[in-house]
């Protein structure tokens, strides 16, 4: 695949869109996927696999609700396990979408255009998957609404000193803003689909969703303002959500959790894993749907650079954890670090270092950044590494804390894994539906990438 990439740019830097595209060709190419092209067999297979995993998730949830969190591997010192690990993992993955859409928009990074739509969708679906876990990890999930501030006859409010309450606000705000941002961004494209759809049913559905978009100048003016405002609103969320999630740990007094570096380190880790996931998704998508013209090597290289940069911040976090374990002179912190490196979960720690610190260093090499299969492999390794990071933080810290008498081992059970795999299925299934029924690349924004002075698109 890499051989097909031809570097035509005089500055030897691939462009964000292949030459020769017109407004028409962009529109045609992207809408065709939804409206005209025969659904590939692979799509059915992929959706089928993911849907089976969704069924597994439903079975796991049913079992969980019937019997209790005891079906998981949790125990007395390790009160949080897979559920919290996966929650943080998914939330982290969800970070790239907002970063790409909001921050890169504000910084006028036009290369973001071709990946922002599905990155945002990915964000939304990742947050949906993440949201499942904190609900289900409760001993009595049917009472989860008690974490919301709502007027009630008991005159009880949530306990606002708890980071879990902050989580509720942070995650729900993030989910709301991300959904809005994504939907607002979709409106002009939904109108395009409405106009091009042949089937009456699709016309009605896309029409309703397009909210009467006619592409008038006034529409565009209002739209641009609203989109920018939303981007401004979403920007602090990129930082806030994972900061708040990191407070779940940093506010506690468990050695290995209680660290001031957690907020920046978590945010960097989130962007790191988010970009890795975008890369994991973008590479097969552009191959299957022939979108190399829109998602060019330039995109992949830029993302690789961001992965490298955030990976270095994450590595700095790891170094600082070790440093402060020593510098704090706290025997508990020191012992925690020692246990992490040599204890029963040492395999997880060193695997994490391998995945998250060693692996991204290959991205210094231009050859690696230009090799699509290598990038794909690297992105998956980073995703595994980030899951391991949360595993190491949650499990090793809890399993061996202050009193050696309480130390105990934790392993995930079948039901831990099944729920995790189930959410991966849910994520996949939602993505498959998304690429089948909505334009996975923003059409109207792609059109702005066509160099001015080229042929105007006809129609529309």
């Amino acid at each position: 695949m890499a051989s097909t990439e031809v570097e035509t740019d005089p500055r030897s830097r691939p462009q964000v869109i292949a030459p020769g595209h017109t407004h028409g060709s962009i529109t045609e190419k992207i809408t065709k996927i939804v409206l005209k092209r025969r659904t590939p067999l692979g799509w059915y297979v992929g959706l089928g696999v993911c849907f089976s995993l969704v069924m597994l998730m439903l079975a796991s949830i049913t079992k969980l609700l019937l019997e209790g969190t005891g079906i998981w591997g949790l125990n007395a010192p390790v009160g949080w396990g897979f559920a919290i690990i996966c929650f943080v993992w998914w939330i982290g993955i969800g970070h790239a979408g907002t970063l790409i859409s909001a921050i890169l928009l504000l910084f006028r990074q036009d290369w973001r255009t071709s990946i922002n739509r599905f990155a945002e969708a990915m964000t939304l679906f990742a947050v949906a998957c993440a949201g499942i876990f904190p609900l289900l990890h409760l001993g009595r999930p049917w009472l989860a609404y008690w974490l919301m501030p709502y007027p009630n006859t008991m005159a009880l409010w949530p306990q606002f000193r708890s980071p879990l309450v902050w989580d509720v606000f942070a995650v729900s705000t993030y989910a709301t803003v991300s959904a809005l941002f994504w939907y607002v961004g979709l409106i002009p494209d939904l109108a395009t689909l409405r106009d091009r759809a042949k089937s009456r049913v699709f016309k009605i559905i896309y029409g309703a969703l397009a909210l009467g978009w006619r592409g008038a100048a006034r529409h565009w003016e209002r739209y641009e303002t609203a989109y920018l405002l939303l981007a401004g609103l979403a920007t602090p969320l990129v930082v806030s959500v994972h900061t708040v999630v990191s407070f779940d740990f940093a506010v506690s007094l468990i050695p290995g959790w209680h660290a001031t570096i957690f907020p920046p380190y978590f945010v960097a880790g989130a962007i790191y894993s988010g970009f890795a996931m975008v890369m994991t998704l973008a590479i097969p998508l552009r191959a299957v749907y022939g979108l190399q013209d829109f998602i060019t090597m330039r995109h992949l290289q830029n993302m690789a650079k961001i992965i490298l940069a955030t990976g270095l911040i994450v590595a700095y976090g790891y170094v600082m954890e070790v440093f402060f374990a020593w510098y704090s002179a706290s025997q508990f912190e020191g012992a925690m670090m020692y246990q992490r490196m040599t204890g029963p979960y040492a395999w997880a720690y060193w695997l994490l270092i391998l995945c998250n610190v060693v692996t991204p260093q290959f991205l210094w090499s231009k050859r690696v950044r230009n090799s699509v299969p290598t990038l794909f492999l690297l992105s998956i390794i980073v995703n595994v590494g980030m899951w391991l990071e949360r595993f190491v933080i949650v499990v090793t810290s809890l399993s061996r804390d202050y009193l050696p008498s309480s130390w105990d081992h934790y392993t995930g059970t079948f039901w831990d894994w099944s729920l995790y795999l189930g959410t991966i299925g849910l994520f996949g299934a939602l993505l498959f539906l998304f690429i089948r029924f909505l334009p996975m690349i923003s059409i109207f924004e792609m059109r702005t990438l066509v160099p001015s002075g080229s042929k105007e698109a006809e129609g529309e």
Partner: protein, 1015 residues
């Protein structure tokens, strides 16, 4: 269905009648024509007619029409009626039940207010005086009786678990004859035919086998049997017997005497394979007395004093864990040590060669005993050889301890002063020779726990008529013709003798749940007085002993006795006896190879508590294991054999073998392995059956406590052993503080609490206007006996979770006893570590990490400084548990509380919520007791007095290691303890400011011995 039952019984007895089973048999396997042919054959069989007439009286007559043919009209009429009646059945309405208040309330009963009754627990030939809490007629909690000499207000773990045994759903519900449910009437009629014959022959052929025996009334009744049936034989068997002690007394005094110790008067205690702190005769009292002499803190004007305990033992015992100096030996070497020690103090005795280490230890002990004449005490344990016992008596006399720290009394048991093993052997011989026609076993479970070489089970069946009285249908009941359910002591009238002879009347708290009978009623039945209640029998006995009293005076005596829980003045007086010249056998040859010792288990004892879930799930002292037994092995032997904890081995001794998991235990002497009795039962009930392995299979009547020449062969398998503590060292953390006593005495302020940080919080501190509750745990007093864990379980409805859940680390105990090992100076940590116990409750931190992280405010700070759990509000995030540095919070991962078994509901404490799935729970400082005391004090218009509130763990503690009270009250005991120089907070440096704090542990090492070791 009594009709159907008697029918089956007839069939069991006589072969000629036909029953439903036989009819089925005749028809079975035939099809088509053959079937109908067989039916016709049956219809002509007169026995079949007889069966029908019995089974369906009236109907069969009509159906068969007298001449054997069914009338058509009759048939239709009956069918019609049946259908109509069948329909009617569906219309049955629930009988109307009205809930009405008492028109006349039972005396003293106030709904919601518990009543306390004094009674006594007969346990292992001994009795413990207790007060039992009763809620609306249901006993829920056992407390010690402060007036009773064996209790002084405390109990052991077994007493705490007694309530669960009472409500055990697996208790026997009915009389059984060869496994089938029968009636008392049927038993009586069958017994009567036997008794007629026995009475005629003066009791020839009658054997009585008695288990625990501590009741004067039962003694008198047995004397009555002896008088009426002089040829009857009496046998006595409990697997954890005191045969060696008795044989030792015979050697020393020429007669059987009971020994009574006064540990509070002893400055130097020498234990020879004696585990006197664990539950045994007088164990609760001895633990109290022992720690009283060990307080190490100034009491009033008294200077700081502390006794010193030397332990010489062949296994890792609870008492050994408390030892200041400990000498681990192989079981065969203990006697040699005793001989060497005796010889050093001038007793003329043959001394074998012993190791230099033992020699040095003995020299130190001899020096100390000489230096503390009259204030020393040598204790030989039940497991020590008779010679060791005799030498202990001689030593105590030699250094003038007799009369001060040790006393001798007449034996407490009235019958059978000889060896129980011999007693059982005689019974087996009689059975084998066919001399036993009627065997009545009162309690006990010899089929399970008799020595393997006697093969009791095979011998038992040769008695044609075998009756077993027991609380559940156990192994012995299965092998007997009749099983009679025994009343639990909380359902019985009886009386029982404590370790010092003090007698208590056992009074029932509840009528027998399943119509159980007492041993008294059984004996009365043998004496032809069936139907006389145990109450009458016990009263009658006491009326006879109080002939001097008028009826009115006797009533007053009876009422006082029941109220106080003991019969005043029944303590057995001390005798003036002297040890005669010892004529001892030559010292035993010290065998080569591995030796094994048998010990009763801390949870199941001899197996009788195998089905008690509370005991099964309470971690055994030292090993911290639950749900099963192991084979303790020294780390040295384990390394040699390349074994690790959990490896299953074949243990071969005396040509018998068992498979057991190895548990590598620091402190277990090299060359000695320890097997625990009381597991591997076939018929214990739902919880106890099949748990662990049966160590009795290796135990012979000749070697009850230790066997030499044992082979341990690895099987290559590994099994999961449910340990609640995987990590045994403190990792250099300041968790249990230990000081040597003499250093501390010189510099009492050496241990200022420098670790704690003052209030470091964003939030303003709480202020406490009224009471501020706190707890101080004295680690110097804690012996790690588990009584507090069980008391907490009973008081707070703490559920059990089972072995699988314990393996996952989900046990629910609100108080736990952490155990750590530290090396002793100059000793190998493998065979002689320092054992440290640390009870851990909820710390009720001022600055509680759990409170700030709960998102719904389900765990909150009370105005008195308690950290309260609001179960209803808890959604189960488990964040509080994660953030608790002490890890005392317990989560209901499943619905652990059993709310389907009806009988278990009766035993719950109604003042404490039964928690549901998905909520967090933890120690509340027994907030229900605080509330009760607050209500009382408000009614009286006075403040709560110091000591008025006792937490369950505090109340039960035999050594008074736990103090609870108001830290705002400057004059309270707890306030004084918090000013002690050795007072400290656990993990104080985390800034939690715990309300539960600790007093350091002291050791009192013998520096002379240490120098020897260095030299």
């Amino acid at each position: 269905m009594s009709h159907g039952r008697s029918l089956e019984d007839e069939v069991g007895g006589q072969g000629t009648t036909l029953d439903a089973g036989a009819v089925r048999e005749r028809l079975a396997g035939r099809g088509g024509r053959a079937y109908w042919h067989a039916l016709e054959e049956l219809a002509d069989d007169p026995r079949f007619h007889a069966l029908l007439r019995r089974e369906l009286p009236g109907v069969s007559e009509g159906l068969l029409g007298g001449d054997g043919r069914a009338g058509r009209r009759e048939f239709l009429r009956l069918m019609g009626a049946s259908l109509a009646l069948g329909g009617l059945g569906a219309c049955t309405r629930q009988p109307l039940e009205r809930i009405v208040p008492y028109a006349r309330s039972p005396e003293q009963t106030i709904p919601g207010e518990p009543l306390y009754f004094a009674t006594a627990i007969p346990l292992m030939g001994d009795a413990l005086g207790v007060l039992v809490e009763s809620h609306m007629g249901r006993p829920t909690k056992v407390e010690g009786n402060p007036d009773h000499p064996a209790s002084l207000g405390a109990t052991d773990a077994f007493a705490q678990a007694a309530v669960l045994s009472l409500y055990d759903p697996d208790r026997s519900h009915s009389i059984r004859r060869t496994g089938k449910i029968s009636t008392w009437g049927a038993f009586l009629s069958e017994l009567q035919t036997r008794l007629d014959g026995l009475n005629a022959q003066g009791g020839q052929g009658l054997s009585l086998l008695i288990g625990d025996l501590a009741s004067p009334t039962l003694d008198d009744q047995l004397a009555g049997v002896r008088a009426k049936l002089p040829k009857a034989r009496f046998h006595h068997w409990t697997p954890v017997h005191r045969d060696n002690a008795r044989a030792g007394a015979q050697l020393a005094f020429g007669r059987d005497l009971a020994t009574r110790y006064h540990f509070d008067r002893a400055r130097v205690v020498v234990a020879l394979d004696a585990d006197f702190l664990a539950s045994g005769t007088g164990g609760v009292r001895y633990a109290r007395d022992f720690t009283a002499a060990r307080r190490a803190r100034a009491q009033g004007s008294n200077a700081r004093t502390m006794n010193r305990l030397y332990c010489v033992e062949s296994w890792a015992s609870l008492t050994g864990g408390m030892a200041d100096e400990r000498l681990p030996l192989r079981p065969s070497e203990v006697e040699g040590f005793a001989r060497a020690l005796a010889s050093m103090l001038g007793v003329d005795v043959e001394v074998p060669r012993i190791s230099d280490r033992a020699q040095g230890f003995a020299a130190s002990v001899a020096r100390e005993l000489t230096n503390h004449r009259g204030a020393g005490l040598v204790v030989a344990g039940e497991y020590a050889s008779p010679v060791a016992h005799a030498l202990a008596h001689a030593l105590n006399q030699r250094v003038e301890n007799t009369g001060t720290t040790v006393e001798y009394t007449t034996p407490l048991e009235s019958i059978d002063s000889s060896s129980q093993t011999e007693s059982l052997r005689a019974l087996v011989d009689d059975l084998r020779a066919g001399r036993v026609d009627t065997l009545v076993a009162l309690g006990g479970n010899p089929v399970y726990d008799a020595p393997a070489d006697l093969d009791f089970a095979a011998a038992l069946v040769s008695a044609p008529f075998r009756v077993h009285l027991s609380e559940s249908v156990d192994e012995t009941s299965e092998s007997c013709t009749w099983h009679i359910p025994q009343a639990h002591f909380l359902e019985s009238w009886s009386d029982a003798r404590a370790y010092d002879g003090t007698v208590s009347i056992v009074q029932p708290l509840i009528a027998p749940l399943y119509g159980g009978r007492t041993a008294h009623e059984m004996i009365a039945t043998l004496l032809g007085r069936s139907g006389v209640s145990a109450y009458d029998l016990v009263r009658e006995r006491w009326r006879k002993t109080r002939t001097g009293l008028s009826d009115k005076e006797f009533e007053s005596f009876w009422a006082t006795t029941l109220h106080d829980g003991l019969v005043a003045g029944t303590q057995v007086p001390a005798l003036q006896v002297g040890v005669r010249t010892l004529a001892l056998p030559p010292p035993p040859r010290v065998p080569t190879g591995l030796e094994l010792v048998f010990r009763p288990d801390a949870a199941t004892h001899d197996g009788r508590f195998a089905n008690n879930g509370w005991l099964q799930e309470t971690p055994r002292p030292l090993t911290r294991l639950t749900w099963g037994n192991v084979c303790l092995m020294s780390p040295i032997n384990a390394r040699e054999q390349k074994l690790t904890s959990g490896d299953v081995v074949n243990i071969i001794a005396s040509e018998r073998r068992v498979q057991a998991p190895v548990w590598v235990t620091p402190g277990q002497p090299e060359g000695s392995i320890c097997l625990f009795l009381g597991y591997g039962r076939d018929r214990a009930g739902e919880l106890g059956t099949g748990v662990g392995y049966d160590a009795y299979r290796l135990r012979s009547s000749y070697l009850p406590w230790s066997v030499a020449g044992v082979t341990v062969r690895p099987t290559g398998h590994k099994t999961q052993v449910a340990s609640v503590q995987d990590h045994a060292v403190m990792e250099g953390r300041d968790l249990v503080r230990v000081h040597t006593f003499d250093r501390f005495k010189g510099d009492a302020h050496a241990d200022e609490d420098h670790g704690s940080v003052e209030h470091l919080s964003l939030y303003s501190p709480y202020s406490y206007e009224g009471n501020a509750w706190g707890m101080v745990i004295d680690l110097n007093a804690c012996i790690g006996c588990n009584a507090c864990m069980l008391a907490c379980q009973a008081e707070n409805n703490v559920p059990i979770v089972g072995k699988e859940e314990v393996l996952r680390g989900r046990e629910m105990h609100w108080i736990r006893i952490d155990r750590y090992y530290e090396p002793r100076p100059g000793e190998s940590p493998d065979d002689n570590p320092q054992v440290l116990h640390q009870p851990v409750t909820c710390m009720h931190c001022e600055n509680a990490p759990c409170e700030v992280v709960c998102p719904v405010g389900a765990t909150v700070h009370s105005s008195e400084g308690l950290n309260d759990m609001v179960y209803n509000r808890c959604v189960g995030t488990r964040y509080c548990a994660n953030n608790c540095p002490y890890k005392v919070r317990r989560f209901n991962f499943f619905h652990y509380a059993d709310d389907t078994t009806e009988s278990l509901k009766l035993g719950r404490n109604p003042d404490v919520t039964v928690r549901t799935r998905g909520v967090m729970e933890k120690c509340t400082y027994c907030v229900q007791r605080i509330s009760a005391a607050r209500i009382e004090s408000k009614k009286d218009g006075r403040p709560i007095q110091d000591g008025e509130i006792q937490s369950a763990c505090q109340q039960v503690c035999p050594t008074q290691a736990i103090t609870f009270g108001d830290i705002n009250d400057g004059s309270s005991r707890i306030a004084a303890l918090r000013k002690e120089p050795d007072h400290y907070s656990l993990l104080g440096e985390t800034g939690t400011s715990p309300r539960t704090t600790y007093l350091a542990k002291f050791t009192n090492p013998d520096h002379g011995l240490e120098q020897q070791g260095d030299g």
